[in-house]
């Protein structure tokens, strides 16, 4: 019997995929959100973590950019 799972399909480049996998690994077991790692650029995660991933990526981007102090 075919099994259907609801979730969010994530398509990105390889560094971002690794970032998300790392983020998943740093969370406690009850909050891990990756359901399947499909290949190096695609992931299948739980449906409600979209916003959380976006804000984590924005944080990461801010850490990596330099702003001249005014």
């Amino acid at each position: 019997m075919v099994n259907a799972t609801k979730g969010l399909f994530i398509s990105c480049d390889i560094p971002m995929a690794q970032f998300i996998i790392n983020l998943n690994a740093s969370l406690p077991a009850s909050q891990k959100f990756i359901i399947h790692i499909l290949d190096s650029t695609h992931l299948f995660v739980q449906p409600h973590v979209g916003e959380m991933i976006k804000s984590a990526i924005a944080e990461f981007r801010k850490e990596n950019s330099f702003e001249k102090p005014t």
């Binding site: 075919v2 099994n3 399909f9 398509s11 399947h36």
Partner: protein
């Protein structure tokens, strides 16, 4: 409303359409308002056809010359007051008669958007070090520049600003696109750089576009994951079905796993049930 306002935590703020309106060309802004005015005219009992024909007539008048209001029909007299509020005509009250004088804005109504002679003078110079020099003392221009750049110095006739990753990411969060910013800079280029091709340095335009795509590095699609197919044929059939509906996101034929868009999940379920 023309420029849609929404309430956020700090009170009334400008919405996405509002920002795009600010960055548009003057003619485009004018036509936006005129279009809204025309579509509202039906509610006020004015025939849109009359309104449009009057506006086109107006654009053929000579700028600066006074025309007697008595030459207008009653309908047109009722419209002229609104047009004066918009700045398309200037009303003048003589001792016995009233006059209206079309402004440059009105005569430009029927001019095509790409006509360079009617364009107002540009004021922005963009340099390859991401600095902006705006030769203007207009507060409006300063506010527009503040949308996507960091103002460094404000002098009586010059504003110096810098485009940075931070200011651009704030702009992108307000739903302004890189194309809008770039076309605003190009259209308002100072005459000294207007002859140069391209008007805005390539490294600046490329970098603005790169920073925009940096904002969305990850694509997310709500979807359903199917596995444990009883046989290869059922799997292939399901793949073809999903492909037909344009909902196939990813498949793995070795392990017989399938990902489809959430929109076609119901149809997929029906299809699989019918297979039994």
């Amino acid at each position: 409303m023309l420029v849609h306002f929404y309430r956020d935590k700090e009170g009334l703020g400008l919405s996405e359409n509002g920002f795009q309106f600010l960055l548009m060309d003057t003619n485009a802004q004018l036509w936006y308002i005129v279009r809204e005015y025309i579509s509202n005219s039906e509610d006020r009992g004015v025939d849109p056809a009359d309104l449009i024909s009057f506006m086109l007539e107006l654009s053929f008048h000579v700028t600066g010359e006074a025309y007697n209001i008595n030459t207008l029909t009653d309908v047109q007299k009722s419209i002229i007051k609104d047009l004066a509020d918009l700045g398309l005509v200037k009303l003048q009250q003589g001792r016995k008669e009233s006059w209206f004088i079309p402004t440059k804005l009105a005569t430009n109504l029927s001019v095509s958007l790409s006509d360079a002679s009617s364009r107002k003078q540009g004021f922005v110079v963009v340099e390859t070090n991401f600095r902006l020099y705006a030769y203007t003392s207009s507060k409006l221009h300063r506010k527009i520049l503040e949308l996507f750049s960091r103002i460094e110095y404000e002098l009586p006739n010059l504003t110096v600003a810098a485009i940075t990753k931070d200011t651009l990411s704030e702009a992108f969060q307000c739903e302004i696109t890189a194309e809008q910013i770039i076309s605003f800079l190009q259209q308002n280029a100072h005459p000294r750089v207007a002859e140069r091709t391209p008007r805005v340095p390539e490294n600046v335009t490329d970098q603005i576009r790169l920073w925009e795509s940096d904002m969305n590095r990850v694509d997310m699609t709500p979807s359903y994951f199917y596995d444990e197919f009883p046989s290869k044929e059922v799997f292939e059939d399901a793949c073809d079905f999903a492909r037909e509906y344009g909902g196939l996101l990813w498949e793995d034929s070795k392990r017989m796993r399938l990902l489809v868009k959430a929109e076609i999940h119901m149809q997929m379920r029906e299809h699989l049930r019918r297979q039994k």
